[in-house]
């Protein structure tokens, strides 16, 4: 496409400005984290003495080690199970197409736009009656349920778009439904599965409402929930708060930089289909 030189430069300048606006909050957070703990530095000023020790202090007072373990445990409880049962249901509705499948699918669609606040009150009493308050199960179990509309929607869309020829050929060769699923469809679904996995990983890691309502102990929460508690505790010590926030952001940022292409694809597709 031909673009005039002026348009090109205008575009570049605009992009740089937008990137600056996006990155400046991170920079401000980082610079502030290096100031002496307990002081009130201005928003963006290079400290005379670099207080790297803030990170160590924040690591200890936020119990970062425990938080990481907790978040990983929650992820392990949510993502594999949700992926598996969401895929099974998506395969059933999208490929096997049982009588009445449309209605089941519509029932799942009902939950697609549900704001979590809409169900948080009864969820609290349900979880309490199950005796699961203040455990990681209080976050894991409801999240699996809350992800189902999207997971089923996503995987169904994938299986509906798979050409029938492949499965018919396998059927003629005498494949059972299980073999068809396990040997043929699953390997072909890896891109859809990995995108869904990334999305559910992010949503779980960043889940805040369920953590705040259902789990009091920050060391049994998700990362986002723990960050909320950390703010409550250290909200007045700005440099320490900034250091702690950065530490809590670090795992996501590292993962994002490593898998950025997959993340961007997943998030773009995720919102288009959602």
């Amino acid at each position: 496409m031909i673009a005039s030189r002026r348009e090109l430069w205008l575009g570049r300048v605009l992009l740089v400005v937008l990137m600056l606006v996006t990155v400046m909050p991170f920079v401000s957070l980082f610079v502030t984290a290096l100031h002496e703990s307990g002081t009130y530095p201005p928003g963006l000023a290079w400290p005379e003495v670099l207080h790297w020790s803030n990170f160590a202090t924040a690591f200890q007072s936020a119990q970062m080690g425990k938080l990481l373990v907790s978040s990983v445990l929650i992820e392990l409880g949510v993502v594999p199970v949700a992926l598996l049962i969401g895929t099974l249901a998506g395969f059933a509705i999208g490929h096997l197409r049982p009588p009445g499948g449309r209605w089941i699918f519509l029932a799942f669609l009902l939950g697609l736009t549900l704001p979590f606040e809409g169900v948080i009150v009864p969820l609290y009493y349900q979880i309490r009656d199950m005796g699961l308050l203040n455990t990681r199960w209080a976050i894991i179990l409801p999240l699996i349920g809350l992800y189902m509309p999207f997971a089923v929607f996503w995987m169904r869309a994938h299986f509906v778009n798979m050409p029938d020829d492949v499965s018919e050929a396998a059927r003629i060769d005498g494949a059972t439904t299980w073999q068809l699923f396990w040997r043929i469809h699953l390997p072909l679904s890896m891109p859809a599965l990995s995108s869904l996995g990334i999305l559910m990983f992010l949503w779980t890691w960043n889940q805040f409402l369920l953590a705040v309502v259902l789990v009091d102990d920050p060391t049994k929460r998700t990362m986002a929930g723990a960050l909320g508690a950390f703010q409550g505790q250290w909200g007045t010590d700005i440099p320490l708060l900034c250091a702690g926030s950065l530490l809590i952001l670090l795992p996501t940022l590292v993962l994002f930089v490593v898998f950025q292409r997959q993340f961007v694809t997943a998030l773009l597709q995720g919102s288009v289909k959602g």
């Binding site: 992009l15 049962i85 099974l88 059933a92 549900l114």
Partner: protein, 323 residues
């Protein structure tokens, strides 16, 4: 789907000659048996997902509706009040105000990212594959992957009295308008909106950009030959082709605005006064601190219905864009 199946059977039967009729009938019966068996397998595969969905989504939705008709403190026996809680939503300025705030946030969460995203994408579309725009794709995505809580903490700091925002304003000679943006009755809600706009802009811009790269370039060439300017080009070609993408952006951002919780909880807790109180936060306060479970549930029902009422019409826009 069933239409397709019917057509196939019709075609089959036309090919069948009289002596084959019996064999055909047998085959059809076998097929039906297999479809039925497959139906059972399919139902079995849906069960785990459906079980989680029913227990942790559908049942709570029903319970929320049920709670909303009662006056309940969560401990002692509940008493039936009919639509009383809903009447409160209309009368109580605090409750009604939270809904109004949610709609005001749409302006910042939805319209700013979409409008700004359209403008930016239209400008950088022409060098979408160059290195700077590939880098920008990663950078502009950052706000999407961090927890909203982190965005809230960062911006609370940026918008504070000595924060970066005021520093910049002073540097450009606008020192007179500096203030604690999140603590001022008049600016708190827009300030919260700015945080949301920062989070959602990148996603919208990249979605719109992806849509623009799918537009047939010959359309633009034809427009240029006809002497259309940049404006004309944008409104006659780009915008109409992007209906679906705009619909998606609006859907995602409107839900984010109406159901906002994390950012407000971290940055203002609903204050100053009730200036930034949103339904999500009010449900949380009512149910878990003020022990008014019924009122909280009525607000939750209203919130769920509002989201549907706003989002469903947007989906129609998507579909007409498809055809």
């Amino acid at each position: 789907m069933s239409q397709q199946r019917l057509d196939r059977t019709d075609a089959d039967s036309r090919e069948v000659t009289a002596p084959d009729a019996e064999a055909f009938e047998r085959r059809r019966r076998a097929l039906r048996a297999r479809r039925l068996r497959r139906g059972w397998v399919a139902w079995a595969l849906v069960v785990p997902a459906a079980a989680f969905y029913v227990v942790f989504v559908l049942k709570p939705i029903v319970l929320t509706v049920q709670y909303s008709f009662y006056d309940w403190d969560g401990v002692t026996a509940a008493s039936w009040v009919g639509l009383g809680n809903y009447a409160k939503l209309l009368q109580d300025p605090e409750l009604g105000g939270s809904i109004v705030h949610a709609f005001e946030l749409i302006l910042y969460f939805s319209f700013i990212p979409v409008a700004l995203g359209l403008a930016t994408a239209a400008i950088i579309r022409k060098f979408a594959t160059s290195r700077i725009s590939v880098v920008s794709r990663t950078v502009l995505f950052l706000p999407q992957i961090i927890p909203l809580v982190a965005a809230g903490i960062m911006w609370t700091w940026l918008l504070s009295t000595d924060g970066l925002v005021n520093q910049v304003l002073r540097a450009v000679g606008l020192g007179s308008i500096t203030r604690a943006w999140l603590g001022d009755f008049h600016t708190a809600l827009p300030a919260v909106g700015v945080i949301g706009a920062w989070v959602l802009f990148g996603l919208c811009m990249l979605l719109l950009l992806a849509g623009m790269t799918k537009i047939d370039p010959s359309l633009y060439e034809a427009a240029r030959i006809d002497g259309a300017g940049a404006w004309r080009e944008f409104f006659s070609i780009t915008l109409p082709s992007l209906r679906q993408e705009v619909g998606v952006c609006l859907t995602v951002t409107v839900i984010a605005a109406l159901a906002s919780f994390d950012i407000v909880y971290i940055s203002t807790q609903g204050g100053p006064g009730n200036a930034t109180l949103v339904p999500g936060l009010e449900i949380y306060y009512l149910a878990f601190f003020q022990r008014q479970v019924g009122t909280a549930s009525a607000l939750a029902v209203a919130l769920m219905l509002l989201v549907l009422a706003v989002v469903l019409p947007l989906q129609r826009l998507n579909r007409t864009g498809d055809s």
